[in-house]
């Protein structure tokens, strides 16, 4: 088995976090027994590097650069894909047989090239790591507007305000292209909950996205930390800025904060790593106004308070970080999973960062660093002065970091788990079988719209409802339980099984779920899960009080859905449907559930339909009535969990129609 990694740049030429993260995965997995032969394909940093007439360039064993896309909006490829088996790229990849294609970007690569990869390797599962917001933000992918404000969109008018009216018509097409491409991805990886949440709001299927940290560098041994014990009040504090020099990284804000306190903190010094003199020259900087302002600030603060430390290579980072007490960043956009935070924590350096995007998730305020209000210079100044005046505070933060496992330390295992699950899935999954609803008996659709009520464990029922146009909420659409759990909650009377939620840790399944510790029942509750992660998975404080009100909100939602469910039980027209996706149904369990519902008030003869996959001897799409409304249906195949949207809709309509006698 092998993995083909695809990135928008190669770290030999592009030092961006996403490129580095992709390459670290490639390096790690190509050395792993089961994944040898993995390959890395990246966009060329400059097409002039390619020899005339070439569209692909070899770069060592199983590594290639491809012609860079010149279309930053629609993401067309510039590689000629019309050449069949003898096309440049097809020839390059001819010896590969990847089981996973892990894409780290479509920018610079081109969507059509990625479609071609899927055509050439139809058995490969496709994973896409979302590093920024390019899917929804065609302007630099940062959700940061051209005027420097955070984008609350995305919406067409906001995008036009950044990109100009000329591209308006292309934006709608772009959205469709990205949506279509995303619909073909087998699994998404988000390095932060924040980014995942934005993409869920944008429309990504919550069942197909996991949060997994970027890979740490292979050697995680930190340099010895700078000894803060000797520090006395008003002695010195060296803060370090690491990263690119551009307007959206917030360096100006850091310098302005510094300027507010240097007269009170004479030993305070900022080291800027990643900055060369050309970054301060308006003639050479790509951001002339920014560069000139930066130079004025650096000059006015003087060398006692600002040191330009030049550019650095990734392997120099640890040694450079060893010389600073704290790392500061002030990005003005919703950074997703900044590598500099990961590197700082790995080197046991506390981080001061804005309470924004993924940064507030990676830095635990008061534990591994300090968070300031975005864009608030005075707040940042206050925090820096605190660290300067209270060295003990810095020491505590450093100790906290030392004692806590690094986020991302199990990133390799999490990735491997995702790859394995995807590869293990059947290669002959049902495609999305659909039917035209206008051909379906409208009486059946009307009936189902009001009376269909899912039970139990299969997400397929939720997609079925969506396909039938049933958009009402339902208790068993929100939660997820195996058969045993269903019996338990029906027996317990439903009231108390949402009492002790913890975040689900399985990276594939647990994308937005919490699980009730007592009953083992799962709930879609992304916000609560994120908060629980931040609260170290404990809902209650030591004295038993609630740490978050989100739990109460979710509980109220739960109780509301319970009431709706109860009303459905006593309604004689309701058709309760249980899908035996887990293949755990027995005659006894069917009767037990039937009895439990009858006890809750389900009227005699009211329908309870159990649906399971047909064995080889059973008729497909048939419904058998056992009596008193209890029915068993056999269907060719139920959609597996990861592909719950792949519903065999015609078969479902057939059995539902038979159940209703239509």
């Amino acid at each position: 088995m092998s993995i083909l990694y695809v990135a928008h740049g190669h770290p030999d030429f592009n030092k961006g976090g996403a490129e580095i993260s992709a390459y670290r995965l490639f390096e790690a997995f190509r050395e792993t027994l089961n994944w040898k032969g993995s390959a890395f394909l990246a966009a060329c940093p400059d097409n002039k590097m390619l020899k005339p007439g070439c569209q692909v360039m070899g770069l060592g064993e199983n590594q290639w650069l491809v012609k860079r896309s010149s279309d930053p909006l629609l993401h067309d490829t510039d590689v000629n894909l019309n050449l069949g088996q003898h096309g440049f790229l097809r020839q390059a990849l001819s010896d590969l047989d990847p089981k996973v294609i892990h894409i780290h970007h479509y920018v610079h690569i081109g969507l059509d090239l990625l479609y071609a990869l899927k055509r050439w390797f139809p058995d490969a599962k496709v994973v896409l790591t979302l590093h920024e917001y390019w899917g929804m933000c065609p302007y630099e992918g940062r959700l940061l507007k051209a005027n420097g404000q955070l984008c609350l969109g995305p919406d067409a008018d906001s995008c036009v305000s950044c990109l100009g009216e000329d591209v308006r018509s292309k934006l709608a097409i772009r959205r469709l292209r990205i949506q279509q491409y995303f619909s073909t991805i087998d699994h998404f990886i988000s390095p932060s909950f924040f980014l995942k949440k934005r993409y869920l709001e944008w429309g990504i299927d919550p069942h197909r996205i996991s949060v997994v940290e970027n890979m740490l560098p292979p050697s995680a041994e930190p340099f010895f930390p700078k000894d803060s014990d000797k520090k006395e009040p008003d002695q010195t504090l060296t803060i370090g800025y690491f990263g690119q020099i551009n307007p959206w990284k917030g360096l100006i804000l850091i310098l302005e904060a510094l300027a507010m306190i240097t007269n009170r903190c004479p030993g305070l010094c900022l080291e800027i790593h990643g900055c060369s003199l050309s970054d301060l020259e308006s003639k050479t900087s790509p951001h002339p106004l920014f560069a000139s302002k930066l130079r004025r600030l650096v000059q006015s603060l003087g060398p006692d308070h600002v040191r330009l430390c030049g550019r650095y290579e990734t392997n120099e980072l640890s040694s450079r970080m060893a010389n600073v007490d704290v790392v500061v960043m002030a990005s003005r956009w919703y950074e997703n999973a900044p590598m500099v935070i990961q590197e700082a924590l790995m080197n046991q350096r506390p981080v001061v960062a804005p309470r924004l995007g993924g940064m507030q998730e990676k830095v635990k305020d008061g534990f591994s660093g300090l968070l300031f209000q975005p864009e608030k210079t005075d707040h940042l100044a206050t925090l820096l002065e605190q660290l300067y005046r209270e060295p003990q505070k810095l020491k505590i933060l450093q100790a906290n970091i030392q004692n806590k496992p690094l986020q991302g330390s199990n990133s390799f295992q999490q990735h491997q788990s995702i790859y394995r699950k995807l590869v293990a899935q059947s290669h002959d999954l049902p495609s999305v079988l659909t039917t035209n609803l206008s051909l379906v008996n409208p009486k059946l659709l009307d009936d189902l719209a009001v009376n269909f009520e899912p039970l139990g464990a299969n997400c397929e029922l939720g997609f079925l409802m969506g396909n039938l146009g049933i958009h009402r909420s339902s208790l068993f659409r929100w939660l997820f339980t195996p058969l045993a759990g269903l019996e338990l909650v029906l027996e317990d009377g439903l009231e108390n099984f949402f009492s002790d939620p913890v975040p689900v840790t399985d990276p594939v399944m647990a994308s937005d779920m919490v699980v009730d510790r007592r009953t083992g029942i799962f709930f879609h509750a992304a916000e609560l899960r994120t908060e629980l992660e931040d609260l170290d998975k404990n809902l209650l404080t030591q004295n038993g009080s609630l740490k978050t009100s989100t739990f109460l909100d979710q509980k109220a939602k739960y109780l509301y859905l319970v009431e709706k469910f109860r009303a459905s039980v006593v309604n004689p027209l309701t058709m309760h449907v249980f899908s035996d996706f887990h293949k755990e149904l027995t005659d006894d369990s069917m009767h037990r559930i039937h009895d439990l519902l009858r006890r809750m008030g389900k009227p005699p003869g009211s329908k309870l339909l159990f649906v399971r996959s047909a064995t080889s001897n059973e008729a497909i799409n048939s419904v058998q009535s056992i009596g008193d409304g209890l029915q068993i249906a056999t269907i060719k195949q139920l959609a597996p969990g990861e592909y719950a949207n792949r519903i065999d809709l015609p078969s479902w309509l057939s059995i539902l129609g038979q159940s209703r006698g239509m």
Partner: protein
């Protein structure tokens, strides 16, 4: 006998122009006859009268008579061309050479900038002269027939003092259309008595769209204010357009317009039930990318139920489209047919031929710059059509910011009461969906007219009324006309409120020409709609 020129019959009018009193009386009577023939532009009679003048050798007396008259412009315009054609020796013998010289001194210079033959017998002329008066054009055909045409309205002052042709003070332009159905070719042209040199540009073999472009170009060259276009329609413009589009209306010849047909994507196990017809013109790449992305995500397209028919109405893009499509549609989950037209025929005709070549009874016709907002739109349209089989149905069209682009149209009129110009008033355009009010709860509702951006209908009913009128060429107002005819003949016009699409609006149509020429096309089509559709005329009259 003097040597005669031209097809002049033997004399039927006898003139005695002697100077005796009785002869003077006869002459007076003869001059009355001459005036009558000039006023009637009866060239046959004028020919006879000239013959008699020559026979009687009364040129001198005739000259004296003319000298007594004030305004001779009509004599110059209508008689001089005939005299100039006569044998000069004979004219001199009869003393009529003085008359010729006398009249020639009254002519003014003229230049024909363009003289185009649009179809057998149909000509457009544009030129300039120094005065703003009525323009009288006398033509002599190669087979000796004389014809006269007047341009009374299309005379305009130039914004320059010298015309590019170099004539002094040719500050007034003129433009017009004339029809000489029984004339094979032009031999000579006089404008207000001045013989004009000309080159005929033969456009007979051009495409209808190009002919209309060229026709309107003549009017723009003549600096005709666009607001005067409505009153010029009945001065030959409409008649010419109507004549030119006639060959396109023959359904039996629509198949001849197909150059190529190629099937791609999924092969149908059964026959599709809906054809989605999309004409392509100029901009195609990103539109097709957008369509493909949207269709792939819509379950309705993945079950062999829908066939997408692209109609390439632009030979210049055909090769690129097909090359691209062969790669990118090869694995398409839905069947695609790409038909190429031999020539660019315009949206209406491309649609007609697309519908004609479709194999299904249910058709959805879609502009290339329309993008589905969400899956399910086609099912909804299909359902509405099933419930209302005789209806013409449009979805709700939105802008990319979800504001309403099209929720039906009302007909309005601009221009003055004598010359109203139809205009499409889109209902609730630019407003939010909530302003649909109670309609939001309805599956469909009736509207007065429909935009042609997306229409669902029965193929049979569409073809039965001839589809779109070809006269509308590149597009605009063909949907208004179709709506009016559909409502009159077939059935209701409905908006299907549950079907939502995004219309990027005028993204392909504007690729073809400058904004000024586009404005002319739009106004011309608005005027055509009024002339060709009696229901629209009735509404215009009611509006007055």
């Amino acid at each position: 006998m003097p040597k005669r020129q031209g097809p002049i019959e033997p004399a039927h009018v006898c003139l005695d122009l002697s100077t005796s009193p009785s002869a003077m009386s006869v002459m007076s009577q003869a001059l009355q006859q001459l005036d009558q023939a000039i006023n009637d532009a009866d060239f046959s009679a004028l020919q006879q009268l000239i013959v008699e003048l020559i026979l009687q050798k009364q040129g001198h007396a005739f000259s004296m008579e003319l000298a007594k008259r004030g305004d001779l412009s009509i004599v110059v315009a209508r008689l001089l061309p005939l005299l100039q054609r006569w044998n000069q020796e004979q004219l001199a013998t009869a003393g009529l050479n003085r008359v010729v010289a006398q009249l020639e001194q009254l002519t003014v210079p003229v230049a024909i900038s363009n003289l185009a033959r649009f179809a057998p017998g149909w000509y457009g002329i544009q030129g300039c002269r120094p005065s703003p008066g009525i323009v009288e054009i006398v033509i002599l055909s190669t087979d000796g027939q004389w014809r006269i045409f007047s341009i009374r309205k299309s005379v305009y002052r130039h914004d320059v003092t010298r015309h590019p042709e170099g004539h002094l003070s040719c500050n007034y332009s003129f433009v017009g259309v004339f029809n000489v159905p029984d004339v094979s070719a032009l031999q000579s042209v006089w404008i207000n008595g001045s013989r004009a040199t000309f080159n005929i540009e033969n456009l007979s073999d051009s495409l209808y769209l190009d002919k209309i472009d060229d026709l309107l170009h003549l009017y723009r060259q003549a600096r005709v204010p666009i607001d005067q276009l409505p009153e010029l329609m009945s001065e030959g413009l409409y008649d010419l357009a109507y004549a030119l589009q006639k060959p396109l209306k023959a359904k039996s010849r629509w198949g001849d317009q197909l150059r190529n047909e190629e099937s791609l994507g999924a092969k149908n196990s059964g026959l599709p039930k809906i054809s989605l017809v999309i004409p392509l013109f100029r901009r195609w790449h990103d539109f097709m990318q957008g369509h493909h992305a949207a269709f792939c995500m819509d379950p309705a397209f993945n079950c062999g139920f829908v066939e997408v028919v692209y109609v390439i109405d632009d030979p210049s893009i055909e090769e690129d489209v097909l090359n691209w499509a062969r790669t990118y549609f090869h694995h398409s989950p839905y069947p695609i047919r790409i038909v190429s037209l031999r020539h660019n025929l315009g949206f209406g005709m491309a649609s007609n031929i697309g519908v004609f070549s479709a194999s299904t009874e249910r058709i959805i016709l879609m502009n290339s710059d329309v993008m589905p907002s969400q899956p399910g739109w086609l099912d909804q349209l299909d359902q509405t059509c099933s419930h209302h089989p005789s209806a013409l149905v449009s979805p709700l069209l939105l802008y990319d910011n979800d504001l309403i682009q099209h929720a039906g149209m009302e007909l309005g009129f601009s221009g003055n009461s004598s010359y109203p110009v139809p205009c499409n008033l889109h209902l609730l355009k630019g407003l939010s969906l909530t302003q649909l009010g109670s309609h939001l709860e309805m599956n469909e509702w009736h509207v007065p007219f429909l935009s042609g951006a997306v229409l669902a209908f029965s193929r049979e009913l569409f073809l039965a009324i001839g589809g779109f009128e070809p006269i509308f060429g590149r597009g605009d107002f063909e949907d208004l006309d179709l709506s009016a005819r559909w409502k009159q003949i077939n059935g209701p016009l409905l908006i299907c409120g549950k079907s939502l699409l995004c219309h990027l609006e005028r993204q392909s149509i504007n690729q073809s020409s400058s904004s000024e020429s586009r404005r002319w096309q739009e106004r011309f089509n608005a005027c055509l709609a009024l002339h060709i559709n009696p229901d629209i005329q009735a509404l215009a009259e009611a509006n007055i």
